[in-house]
């Protein structure tokens, strides 16, 4: 079966490879920002690129289960690393916004409270913290079935991420809507399944 042609080599890729490749875009964008490669306004550009990678990584974590279930491609062992990398990128995105973009503690808080698209993005970040903290074997054992329930928060996080993207765009733009569409599609695949069985 052709899925095995992916599963075979995928099994031989060590998890640490993700930890080597994962930070590369962040380093690359930061380097571009320092050297003029991100254009005349590198701060917003860096902020945007990091946020986009974060969203893409989150979408990637959502594809793991449907890939296995519907196509027989098993990439399950990479999911934790993808999720933690997504958290790292959200954190970097937030750090650039705090330290390079807004630069003012009072204004940062005002933005989080007053501006819905910031509130939504920041909420997604907060929801990711318990997920990141419990992304280890010990927590998985200790929490048992509660771990699975807790990690369904991912669905909320990804939707909030997409809403944040749509909301911050000026005018009517397709790209953020495509992300939301893909996310809802990936979640719908789970809904159908959950009617038939208890597992989500």
């Amino acid at each position: 079966m052709w899925a095995d042609r992916i599963n075979g080599p995928a099994r031989r890729v060590p998890i640490w490879a993700l930890w080597v490749i994962g930070p590369a875009p962040a380093i690359w964008f930061f380097y571009l920002g320092l050297t003029g490669g991100l254009g005349a306004e590198p701060i917003k550009a860096l902020e945007r690129e990091l946020g986009l990678v974060a969203l893409q990584l989150l979408v990637a974590t959502l594809t793991i289960t449907p890939l296995r279930r519907h196509l027989g491609i098993n990439l399950m062992r990479f999911r934790r690393a993808l999720g933690l990398l997504a958290f790292a990128y959200v954190s970097l995105h937030l750090a650039v916004w705090l330290l390079l973009d807004i630069q003012d503690a009072a204004r940062i808080w005002a933005d989080i409270v007053k501006r819905p698209f910031v509130t939504v993005g920041f909420t997604a970040f907060l929801l990711m913290i318990p997920l990141a903290l419990t992304s280890n074997d010990l927590s998985l054992r200790r929490l048992g079935p509660r771990w699975r329930r807790l990690h369904r928060l991912t669905y909320a996080v990804v939707i909030l991420g997409a809403v944040h993207f749509i909301w911050l765009s000026k005018g009517f733009q397709f790209e953020p809507l495509i992300y939301l569409g893909a996310i809802l599609g990936l979640l719908a695949l789970r809904l159908r399944r959950s009617r038939g069985s208890q597992r989500v």
Binding site: F30, G33, L34, G36, G39, A40, E41, P42, I43, K44, A45, L46, L100, I102, Q103, D104, R107, A110, D111, K114, R115, P116, F117, V118, W167, L168, S169, K170, G171, F172, Q173, F174
Partner: protein, 299 residues
């Protein structure tokens, strides 16, 4: 009516080339002698124009795409010769005015202006252009006219961005007649003494330096004098976020971000924000236009 406004301090006035590095000292000295008002020194400090690269590579011109680099990438496809501007509505001499004929009659001068985008970034641009008032006088404004409506060229085959309904095309803007007649209001046809690049709105665009950048409509093909407030593109797209006036106002936030500060383009990854002045620093010249208005409501 040209030359009705002078930059209070121009780069070259304050800065004899040999003492380029002593610019700050020159300004400080002038301030010390009481030659400058309280705001004068700060204004002179920030009136260093952005370089050509910044001005021509970081643009909002959604007809060519929503990325800041899209206009520079795609605007070369725009044909600007021949170019006509239709001036109609409440004017004595309506008609299609050829760009060359307009230029033959107008007095082009240099205007070094702050340019503040609604997205809270800013530049300083050495425009070349003529006063809009002169163009309107050419067409003969009738007494019933109270507003001026503007329209950007719309060409599906030359503008890849208009395939998407980001805004209701064509882009339209408007000014109250007194705003349009103000000496600060110009039609820009150049930057740094060169023809204005297509991504900046060639061959002629409006520049209203005390309003957010989106009011300064690009590549104008139609100017209509009317008696009521015309629809404007961003206001139609989101009236809660973009008002008809859209004067630069640090006290009225955009619903999604603060307008109290701005980032001057060109400072790199670690540039700090600077305070945004009321009317983008042109309050002395234009505040009287809005006397008695609640600028928080009529934003």
């Amino acid at each position: 009516m040209a030359y009705r406004w002078k930059n209070d301090l121009r780069e070259r006035d304050v800065t004899p080339e040999p003492v380029w590095l002593d610019r700050r000292a020159v300004i400080a000295g002038a301030a010390g002698l009481g030659l400058l008002g309280a705001g004068g020194a700060a204004r002179a400090e920030t009136l260093e124009p952005n370089d050509w690269e910044d001005i021509t590579s970081y643009n909002n011109y959604y007809e060519f795409g929503t990325d800041k680099g899209d206009p520079a990438r795609h605007a070369h496809r725009l044909t600007i010769e021949p170019w006509n501007v239709r001036i109609d509505g409440l004017v004595d001499r309506p008609g299609d005015y050829a760009f060359e004929d307009i230029m033959a009659k107008m007095t082009v001068e240099e205007r070094l202006y702050r340019f503040r985008c609604v997205e809270a970034w800013s530049m300083v641009v050495p425009w070349n252009g003529f006063e809009l008032a002169d163009l309107l006088a050419m067409a003969g404004v009738q007494s019933g006219a109270k507003y001026v409506a503007f329209e950007t060229v719309l060409r599906e085959d030359e503008m890849p961005g208009v395939a998407y309904p980001v805004l209701d095309w064509p882009y339209v803007e408007g000014l109250r007649l007194d705003e349009a007649m103000h000496p600060l209001t110009i039609m820009a046809t150049g930057i740094y003494g060169r023809d204005i690049p297509k991504q900046n709105g060639a061959p002629l665009r409006l520049v209203v330096p005390w309003k957010y950048g989106f009011k300064s409509i690009k590549s104008v093909v139609r100017i209509t004098l009317i008696d009521s407030e015309p629809p404007t593109s961003w206001n139609k797209a989101n009236p809660r976020e973009y008002g008809f006036y859209s004067n630069v106002n640090p006290e009225v936030d955009h619903p999604r971000w603060s307008q109290a500060t701005e980032r001057r383009i060109g400072g790199g990854l670690f540039s700090s924000r600077i305070p945004t002045p009321m009317f983008n620093g042109y309050g002395d010249e234009v505040a009287s236009l809005y006397k008695g208005m609640d600028l928080k409501k009529q934003f």
